[in-house]
């Protein structure tokens, strides 16, 4: 096997991004604890999170996206301390800008009984073009 050791990869013009053939890296991901004082557990390209209220969190990325048409996938835990199973969801509410997005986490005991919830594990991953 041949191995190339390098610290920085750029296109051969010296400035453009390098092409990873048929591969696309995520541009940011964030794992945060929404219970108590909301806090980032681990992250990549995330500047900060803001606790806007129960189940309501704003995440700010460090390096801005080129536009707000990025692709977001979200997830959450099953809240181990509570009686399970139940209706659970975490989703992006809106992209407020190329750096800031708002996320909502909800729980319920059925499709007609849903409330905002601070859950322990919240996940967001975004793919798209950076500025």
């Amino acid at each position: 096997m041949s191995t190339v050791k390098v610290d920085t990869l750029v296109a051969s013009d010296g400035t453009s991004p390098v092409t990873l053939t048929k591969q696309h890296a995520a541009k940011t991901w964030t794992n945060w604890n929404g219970q108590g004082t909301a806090a980032i557990r681990d992250s990549f390209n995330t500047a900060s999170i803001t606790d806007n209220g129960t189940g309501d969190t704003t995440v700010t990325v460090s390096n801005a996206f080129a536009n707000a048409d990025f692709s977001t996938v979200c997830g959450r835990d099953s809240t181990l301390s509570q009686t399970r199973p139940k209706l659970l969801n975490m989703s992006r509410d809106t992209a407020l800008s190329t750096t800031v997005s708002r996320y909502l986490s909800v729980e319920g005991t059925g499709s007609s009984t849903v409330a905002d919830e601070d859950c322990e594990f919240n996940f967001v991953t975004i793919h798209g073009d950076l500025a």
Binding site: M1, A11, P17, F44, S78, F123, D129, L130, A131
Partner: protein, 151 residues
């Protein structure tokens, strides 16, 4: 075909910069200063970021109905049926801690309010649960994505 055999390349104008061809073929890339740290430039050129942190460290497309099994994956060694709507995965190359980012998406044709959530993460095990409304269910397709640090 011409061939150059060399152990170390040093830039002529700048010792740390070597310009190569448009297409460079190799089997493995490593960071020079730190093996797990390679910097890449953003699409717009305004930022640089670490390549490794953006790469998914594991993913799985699996089903729970019938006999649970993995339909496609990377860095997943096994799936275990832990009960209705419950699946546990073995990770081939261990993660460095339990702080990984693990969103899931459920494709539940015909099932009402089907959704999957993370239940547990250890360095070599990840557990996913699936509900239809407020009851456990076995879904026909679930997608799981893992970002974080490998050990």
């Amino acid at each position: 075909m011409s061939e150059i055999k060399v152990d170390t390349l040093t830039g002529k104008t700048s010792a740390t910069t070597v310009t190569g061809p448009d297409l460079f073929k190799t089997d493995e890339l490593q960071g020079k200063t730190s093996a797990g740290d390679i910097t890449v430039t953003s699409e717009g050129g305004a930022a640089t970021m670490q390549l490794q942190q953006g790469l998914a460290k594991a993913w799985a497309n699996f089903h729970q109905d019938g006999t649970q099994s993995i339909d496609g994956s990377i860095n997943i060694t096994s799936i275990t049926d832990s009960g209705v709507g419950e699946s546990s995965f073995g990770i081939s190359n261990a993660l460095s801690n339990g702080n990984d980012n693990i969103p899931t998406t459920t494709v539940g044709a015909g099932l009402s309010n089907t959704h999957s959530v993370f239940n547990l993460a250890r360095t070599t095990v990840v557990k996913i649960e699936t509900y239809a409304g407020s009851s456990y269910t076995d879904a026909s397709e679930i997608n799981m994505l893992v970002h974080g640090d490998l050990a």
